[in-house]
């Protein structure tokens, strides 16, 4: 019963994402556009750009993830899906876990693939590209899950967008610091594995706690 419910939610998310695959490209275009804005704003100073690139790549990816959160549960709310989740008798946290894992894959994977390409565009080379991909693979899902919690908390609010950013961005700080820190370390030739391991720790913490918190928020929204 639980396994089937999990698989059903998971498959439904992936199928919906695939049928709207044009929308999957939007965060990527946003990511590329923001990465285009920085060099234009900085006056094409290549040395400065190379130094700032790890932070810029991470901040822009973070904003792209944030933009993908706002409507995460709104369709479910309108169609009554969340009500069904709550009354289904299956643990809400378990269903939330299925949705969150699918959501993290849908949002993170394209960004992780595009990140190193944009990094090469900004002049990063060699090992730094691999470290960027690894740090994004570990960090982006955590950003997705924190954002999903924010989306569940602001569910049903008429102007939830700016509020979502307000409550979610402070919680993004550790991931940003470790993620950008790993890439900075790789660029400067220092070992990056410490920061990557910390990111992995956050990933495990996130997958254990985020479904529970999201479930609590969804339950409150249905009261």
């Amino acid at each position: 019963m639980m396994g089937r419910a999990f698989a059903a939610v998971f498959r439904r998310e992936l199928r919906l994402a695939w049928r709207r695959r044009g929308q999957l490209l939007q965060p990527l275009v946003f990511y590329a556009l923001v990465m285009l804005l920085f060099p234009l704003g900085a006056g094409a100073d290549l040395a400065l750009l190379g130094q700032a690139a790890p932070s810029l790549l991470w901040v822009a990816a973070l904003l792209a993830v944030l933009l993908a959160q706002g409507t995460l549960f709104s369709a479910d709310l309108e169609e009554g899906g969340i009500e069904l989740w709550v009354t289904s008798g299956v643990s809400l946290g378990w269903l939330a876990l299925a949705k969150l894992i699918a959501h993290a894959m849908i949002v993170s994977l394209p960004l992780i693939l595009v990140g190193p390409v944009l990094a090469g565009w900004l002049g990063l080379r060699g090992e730094a590209l691999w470290v960027l991909a690894a740090s994004m693979a570990l960090g982006m899902p955590v950003l997705c899950w924190i954002g999903a919690l924010g989306a569940a908390l602001t569910l049903g609010l008429p102007r939830g967008g700016i509020l979502l950013a307000l409550i979610v961005l402070p919680l993004y700080i550790p991931v940003l610091m470790f993620g950008a820190g790993a890439v900075h370390a790789a660029v400067e030739g220092r070992p990056a594995d410490g920061a990557l391991l910390l990111l992995a720790g956050l990933l495990f913490l996130g997958v254990s706690l985020a479904p529970l918190a999201t479930a609590a928020a969804l339950r409150v929204s249905q009261e």
Binding site: L149, L169, L171, I173, P174, M177, L209, A217
Partner: protein
């Protein structure tokens, strides 16, 4: 025991108890602050390095302590509000967020005032504790903003409680992630248990002021909850009687 606890959680009962305690608590807080400030600002010896300027710690350090403590109280109240749907705990979540945000702002403000003569700058990006205090302020603002976004304040309180609980998991992570930056903040002077770095003639007034800040927080929290109860129960008969005097 549990019966007494549930009796206390009835708004009407809480209102009566708070009304009886508040005058005493207020007088005690005022006296305590007078003693603590005199002790810290006049009796305690000047610092051999920083002279008289260090005396701002008697406001700065307790504010910083309270900024974290209040967040813990808020998350605790949030847990009670979510699990048992206690009305008082819901009110406490919001009022704690208001007070906590002010303590955080006070800690930041006094820290900047102290930083200017000591480090020669208002703001030091490399300093971990300044940064985590600022992030804490944003966390408080998030809780307040989320609560206020809901027209139904009971629902708003429970949603804000979930955020407060998520925040309490994140605060240590944020703190340590920021700490691993380079820091020029002087190391913690009180929590080194083996041998406190501050001399006891400076430490005792500091601990005393810390206690007085807790007392102040409790007093103001009680007063604010009391007013909020009256507001939310305005259509009940007992509230009507209270208003008539």
């Amino acid at each position: 025991m549990f019966h007494r606890f549930t009796a206390l959680s009835s708004p009407r009962r809480f209102y009566a108890i708070a009304s009886a305690w508040l005058p005493w608590l207020s007088v005690l807080t005022a006296l305590g602050f007078a003693v603590g400030l005199y002790w810290g600002l006049i009796v305690a010896p000047p610092d051999y390095q920083q002279g008289e300027a260090y005396r701002i710690i008697y406001v700065h350090v307790p504010s910083a302590w309270l900024s974290l403590m209040v967040y813990t109280v808020m998350a605790g109240a949030g847990l009670v509000a979510l699990v048992w749907h206690v009305k008082l705990a819901e009110i406490a979540v919001y009022e704690c967020a208001v007070l906590g945000a002010w303590f955080t702002a006070l800690a930041l403000g006094t820290g900047m005032l102290w930083g200017k003569p000591m480090w020669g700058t208002w703001w030091q990006w490399g300093d971990a504790r300044m940064l985590s205090e600022l992030i804490l302020l944003f966390l408080y603002i998030g809780v307040l903003g989320l609560h206020n976004a809901f027209a139904d304040s009971r629902k708003g309180a429970r949603v804000a409680a979930v955020l407060a609980l998520a925040g309490i998991v994140n605060i240590p992570i944020i703190h340590y992630s920021v700490e691993w930056w380079n820091t020029l903040h002087q190391g913690a002077t009180v929590t080194r248990f083996d041998k406190p770095a501050a001399h006891s003639s400076m430490l005792w007034p500091l601990l005393f002021m810390g206690t007085m800040f807790i007392l102040y927080f409790s007093t103001v929290l009680l007063a604010r909850i009391r007013v909020r109860i009256l507001e939310q129960e305005a259509d009940r008969q007992w509230a009507e009687e209270v208003r008539r005097g």
